[in-house]
Symmetry: C2
Subunit: 288 residues, 2 copies
């Protein structure tokens, strides 16, 4: 347990790498993983997004004996899912460990929301480590690293963002635990998120907007420019619909977007209203 | 506001440095500041502990135009206070900014616990930035950076541990705010901490132990070895006195220690009992 998902990612990357290791990452990984790579003192190769062959090539041509592959499960900008099963196979064939940031999969994907690694059949794998945040689907604060016992022990002994940080506040830990219990009692909540995200995205596309089709809860809607994206998000907020705005430098491809996140408790009329407001406030050039 | 003091330190160091800057630090600074230095891409010089002349020399001989001096106010291992006024003068004379981690000073030092920078007359200085944690004297969670408005604006725009982290949980923010109000209403709490720390340290020294004389709430008691320090802390815990145990690699000088932190609400009999237990469980070689 860490005080944030950011701290969990820093701790996991740095404790599982080091000067004698190579790190290979999808270049669209979350900023907190990138910070971990910068702290790692490892050889770092960031390869093309969603290209397992590039991960494989980088592993095969590495100059260090040990290797760690780092990926988001669901990428935070477009909400697309990494091919975790394929990546795990490549890692095992090349003697690498796989670190999966499941911030956007945990509580949403897999049986009862057990996450993307579980959905890919990787739970309990000896060479797969998953990080999660307690502040997204669980609505609390904090982060966690899930993995083999010997990995957890190693993290406790060496992860500097664990050792030199204050432990998670009891109220936040208890809130996360209560949310976990709620999810266990009502596993359908996870499916409901996916259903709502799918409906939201399809309606936005039907209205002519450039919406991504979600693999989990995250939907991006492309905007013509950074300025129009910011104005669009502000116009939505004025009408009671809060959407994120991602623009350079925090988008890897330079394309500005609205970022929507579906929730389990959205009603059909909530979704309709969101689509109506987002469509009505769309800037010129936002439609296909 | 950050989700932890660790994240505040990462954000402040990285946002106020960069490839065109030199960083000069006391080599005993907290690990979170060291991580910030590693992420900074700056020239980093870590000089001898508590040696302003070494800071001055490093600033005078730097190869980069901009410079940041980084120090703890109260050092976390021995609890000694940095000469902040002198450091601020050196910084100003050499065109450097001063970043002070006041984790152990805030709520304890200065008028009503306003902290070490305030006590040194540096509040409101245009070239001094202070970081604090909400999880020590305020008993909550989170961290904050205090400084000129333009610095705060710059941090909001550029500090990656701010931008890419989840905001502090409302319950933790509210707990910190309530603690701040309590401190404002009862400013004597800060003095009481100092009084209790002084009494604790003097009693431990009188019992023959190698206790540091505290400048704030932190007292270290040297142990003969890492093993005896760990056993000593465990023996204290068994008797209901919880003390920290610092040993390599998390002590800068290789000396293992117990670390005690005094609180405002300790009674005379609490202090007596702590001294009695710590003395009774002391390993051979712990006494002067």
């Amino acid at each position: 347990m860490f005080s944030s998902g950011f701290a969990a990612n820093l701790g996991a990357v740095t404790a599982l790498s080091g000067a004698e290791a190579a790190i290979v990452t999808d270049k669209y990984i979350h900023a907190s993983l990138i910070e971990g790579c910068r702290l790692s003192r490892s050889d770092v190769a960031a390869v093309a997004h969603a290209t397992p062959s590039a991960i494989k090539h980088a592993l095969a041509t590495r100059r260090k004996p040990r290797a760690l592959v780092v990926t988001d499960s669901v990428f935070s900008v477009d909400g697309d899912l990494a091919p975790l099963g394929e990546l795990a196979g490549i890692c095992r064939a090349h003697g690498a460990a796989l670190l999966v940031d499941d911030a956007h999969g945990f509580g949403v994907l897999g049986e009862g929301g057990r996450g993307a690694a579980h959905a890919a059949g990787l739970s309990g794998a000896p060479d797969v480590v998953t990080t999660v945040t307690l502040s997204k689907s669980l609505g609390a604060q904090g982060g966690a690293v899930l993995g083999p016992r010997r990995v957890i022990k190693h993290l406790v002994d060496t992860a500097r963002s664990f050792i030199f940080d204050t432990a998670l506040a009891p109220a936040s830990a208890a809130a996360a635990l209560a949310a976990l219990h709620a999810l266990k009692e009502e596993p359908g909540l996870a499916e409901k998120v996916l259903e709502n995200a799918g409906n939201l995205a399809m309606s936005l596309k039907a209205a002519g907007l450039k919406a991504s089709m979600p693999d989990a809860a995250v939907i991006s809607v492309q905007a013509p420019s950074a300025q129009t994206a910011a104005a669009w998000a502000a116009a939505c907020a004025e009408q009671g619909i809060r959407v994120g705005c991602f623009r350079p430098p925090s988008v890897p491809d330079g394309i500005s977007r609205l970022r929507l996140t579906a929730r389990a408790d959205l009603t059909e009329s909530d979704v309709d209203r969101a689509v109506k407001v987002i469509t009505a406030t769309a800037p010129r050039g936002a439609a296909n």
